[in-house]
């Protein structure tokens, strides 16, 4: 195929530009597909991961993100498409000859080997000289802060320590790409958040190209430079965390990104002649700029996040008709949550402590508003 020229004949002058572009791409997937029997686990996934970049594959279970990771590692063969590692097409290269380091969900530490033996396993497999191995193990011990545990067996380690050994074992081989497969999900919540920060700092300091698979949005946002959101074997949207969060491009993305209110309605016109959404619950608002063109009368879904909604005692531009009624107020620490009933819909509003949370209580009649730009309108199909 044409793209192979780009890598195998670098001295052609007209290829120079694309070569430069590919030089800082550590991993390139082109049209990768994979089926298990009748199940299409991956459908034509194409993505570049740049050097030193951390890409988070985020999606619900069964979306194909682990399959993608296993194809990169070579544990699975793609049915179609190409995998390029550091400018080399590796489709036919077995996993033990690819230089990838994988951290598994349950660590997969060798129970019959000490911490030191676990970390040096990949180095011995590469037949490195003993002094290099010793040096590398020390470096890893130092990096992940577990000196003194060298001669322990995995069963004598805590969850967090096992996690560190698993990361050290994968990093010790100085992999081209580090692969984290739900690597933190076996830890309990507090430790997991600690490790997310620690790992994020470590990976940035080392500048190591990483692909991370997770179903946890916070983990993806903490670690990922870019997020690839996956659904049903496809990469739905790829971009920086802010882009994914603020500019979701589909219903799935908004809903997966959590706590958004969903308002169904139809497209109409404002008095000024702009496109507007008339929600069934009685709210009406202009369609935010940058949305695709909608035709009048089309059914749409509008999503507004709980934190973007504001409450007031007076009618607002968005909410001019019948007031809504607060049915539940919940104190959540940093913020308060209001459940309000508007027509047949239930809407959730979250306000942080000092920020307009006071002055509203259960039973109050209120009006809601939100900046139109914070609303995401998608076709209702």
């Amino acid at each position: 195929m044409s793209s192979s020229n780009r890598f195998t004949t670098p001295n052609q002058p007209d290829e120079a530009e694309s070569l430069m572009a590919s030089n800082d791409v550590d991993l390139r997937l082109v049209g990768v597909s994979k089926s298990f029997g009748a199940v299409h686990a991956l459908k034509e996934c194409t993505v570049d991961v740049r050097r030193n970049e951390i890409l988070a594959l985020l999606g619900p279970s069964g979306c194909g993100k682990s399959t993608l990771l296993n194809i990169v590692a070579g544990f699975l063969e793609p049915d179609a498409g190409d995998v390029w590692l550091r400018g080399r097409q590796v489709n036919e290269v077995p996993p033990n000859r690819r230089n990838t380091g994988m951290v598994f969900q349950h660590y997969a530490l060798f129970p019959h080997m000490t911490v030191r033996q676990n970390i040096s396993y990949g180095l011995h497999a590469r037949k490195l000289p003993a002094d290099v191995i010793d040096e590398r193990v020390k470096e890893m011990m130092n990096l992940l802060k577990f000196e003194g545990l060298e001669d322990r067996y995995p069963e004598a380690l805590s969850g967090g320590q096992k996690q560190r050994v698993a990361v050290a074992r994968a990093l010790a081989i100085h992999p081209d790409v580090l692969l984290l497969d739900e690597a933190l999900s076996a830890l309990d919540k507090n430790l997991r958040e600690e490790m997310q920060i620690e790992l994020s700092l470590l990976l940035r300091r080392l500048g190591i190209t990483t692909i991370l698979v997770t179903h946890d949005q916070q983990e993806a946002f903490t670690l990922g430079d870019r997020i690839a959101l996956m659904e049903n074997g496809r990469i739905i949207q790829i971009g920086q965390p802010e882009d994914i969060y603020l500019k979701p491009q589909s219903k799935f993305v908004v809903e997966f990104m959590g706590s958004a209110n969903r308002l169904s309605g139809t497209v109409g016109l404002t008095r000024e002649g702009d496109g507007a959404v008339h929600a069934r619950c009685g709210l009406a608002f202009t369609i935010p700029p940058g949305s695709p063109d909608w035709s009048s009368g089309q059914s749409v879904l509008a999503y507004v996040r709980a934190e973007d909604l504001m409450l007031s005692h007076e009618p607002t531009a968005v909410h001019a008709g019948e007031p809504a009624r607060i049915v539940l107020v919940t104190f959540l620490g940093a913020k308060s949550r209001f459940v309000i009933e508007l027509g047949d819909d239930q809407i959730i509003v979250e306000r942080s402590g000092g920020d307009g949370a006071t002055g509203f209580s259960e039973g109050d009649n209120v009006y809601v508003s939100f900046p139109p730009a914070r609303c995401h309108v998608v076709a209702d199909d």
């Binding site: 994988m102 349950h106 997969a108 060798f110 129970p111 019959h112 396993y121 497999a125």
Partner: protein
Amino acid sequence: MHPWLWLLPALALLIPFFVMPLGILARNSVYRDDPTALMVPDFTFDNYVRMLTDSYYLDVFTNSLWIAFLVGIIALIVSYPFAYYVVRWARRSRKLLIWAIYMPLIVSVIVRVFGWIVITADSGLINNMLVSIGFVDQPLQILYAVGGMMIGLTHRYLPLMVLPLVNAISKIDPTLLTASTGLGAGRFRTFALVVLPLSLPGMVVGFQLVFAGVLSDYVLPNLMGTTRFRMLAPAIYDEAIGNVSWASAASMAVIMIIIVVVVLLITNLAFRRFAPWARTL
């Protein structure tokens, strides 16, 4: 109700019919055999001294130890690939294969020995075939020789090796093999450094069971072996019934028990020493 009462049925059986006879055996072993009477009460270690100095008895012990050791090793070599296949590859055939391994435990050992006799006799299946293809002129002496006895013993104790191995190998997390490959190890390296060490618990248990079984086996040396190569259990029988020397037969039995206990202890200690991780598996 005191929890200890749960042990009552087992103790009611074991104390009168196992522990007490063992005590009697130990007592008999220090009695003196009398040519004119059955046994004379005494307290002497003469029997033990004779067992450990007389070349006839020494041969019996070394023969049995050797055969028990060899059959243990052969059973391990035969069983391991089988167990590995059953765990890693067998899908629909898995139940059938496991059942085939249990089968010998269900069929009487005597029936199985007669099967082997038909196969290994001078005019049996193997020799007929070898002679008819001209591989040998005279039938090979398989039955009533050490070789035939070892075939029978290996077959008899094979399940005791396969089952612990299947158990140990199926406990190995397949992700470990993936991890090993991902770290750059090839198939052979992964097997030698991950699979094999992690099946060690099954190998040790299997070897211990086969070793203890072979050392005390009476039927197979008797029906398939030869009197020119004495084995322990038949020798004890001959000592007691043939020579009417109950005291020295008792001392042979006690030594046999001690050998088994010592071998189990040594293998356990060695295992704990070289595989300290295995305690937690």
